[in-house]
Symmetry: C2
Subunit: 170 residues, 2 copies
Amino acid sequence: MNSNNAGLATRDQTVDSSSGTSYVRRFSQEGSRYRWEGVDLKKYKEEGTHFKSVTRQNLFSDESLQPCELRYFEIEPGGHSTFEKHVHTHAIIILRGRGRAIVGDSMEQVQAFDLVEVPSRTWHQLQAADDEALGFVCQVPCERDRPIRPTDAERQALSEHPTLGGIIRL
Amino acid sequence: MNSNNAGLATRDQTVDSSSGTSYVRRFSQEGSRYRWEGVDLKKYKEEGTHFKSVTRQNLFSDESLQPCELRYFEIEPGGHSTFEKHVHTHAIIILRGRGRAIVGDSMEQVQAFDLVEVPSRTWHQLQAADDEALGFVCQVPCERDRPIRPTDAERQALSEHPTLGGIIRL
């Protein structure tokens, strides 16, 4: 027991902010979706039809404060992110649910708190399980290149891949 | 049901990596502690006695890939991080447990998935509840200044703060 505990009059209060300023954005669930107060629910991408049932929330609003962003993506059951690659990397922490991470030539089942590293210039896609949403935080550099999609020739080769051909959603 | 599901022969396998390369670091619990395969358990800081019962895990090993790091800190019940400030900011996601975030003049109770933003040059400390660990991910810029601790005069003023005086652990 810490000796400072003697003074903990505010121990059971949810918030005690003498300045009135809050530095906490509280987590909640809206229906089945993970949400945070004051954080907008956004489209996964402004354009494109190569994904299914994905939403985005940019967790820390003032992106000028750090050279990276932390975004939360939630993929509904049966949904998937765009199959794509880019020069920048992804550092991903799964927050909820189950699904698959396709990265390069590998496909791995993932679940809550697993980490996924997407290297530079490497094809990747995240897919939710058919019966459960997949939610994850993804760190990216604020300054980053735009994703590219497979060419027709690459799509053909990917569809014939011995293990991933039937799994990738293009 | 996605039409691609017809080909999901590997659906129930944990890993199907045709290249043998894994991009996933799996989460597990060792005793009560959150751990990840291949991630070292480190001291919170190499020196200093101003904290109590805190460990650190740097989740993504190749820190050259992005201009920020994601570290996981776990504070045992009754423990706390160093009371300090610095020019760089923190973007924090609570992953487990309950505790308090002291930031500037505010003290707020936090729990799993709440977000905490620590602005530049702002005193802060995280404290675990007495009966539960507090685990959180903290994003920081790779290039950052060293924390500073309160001077004797600042310690005196802090100890007399009307709401935080009995709570801050110096």
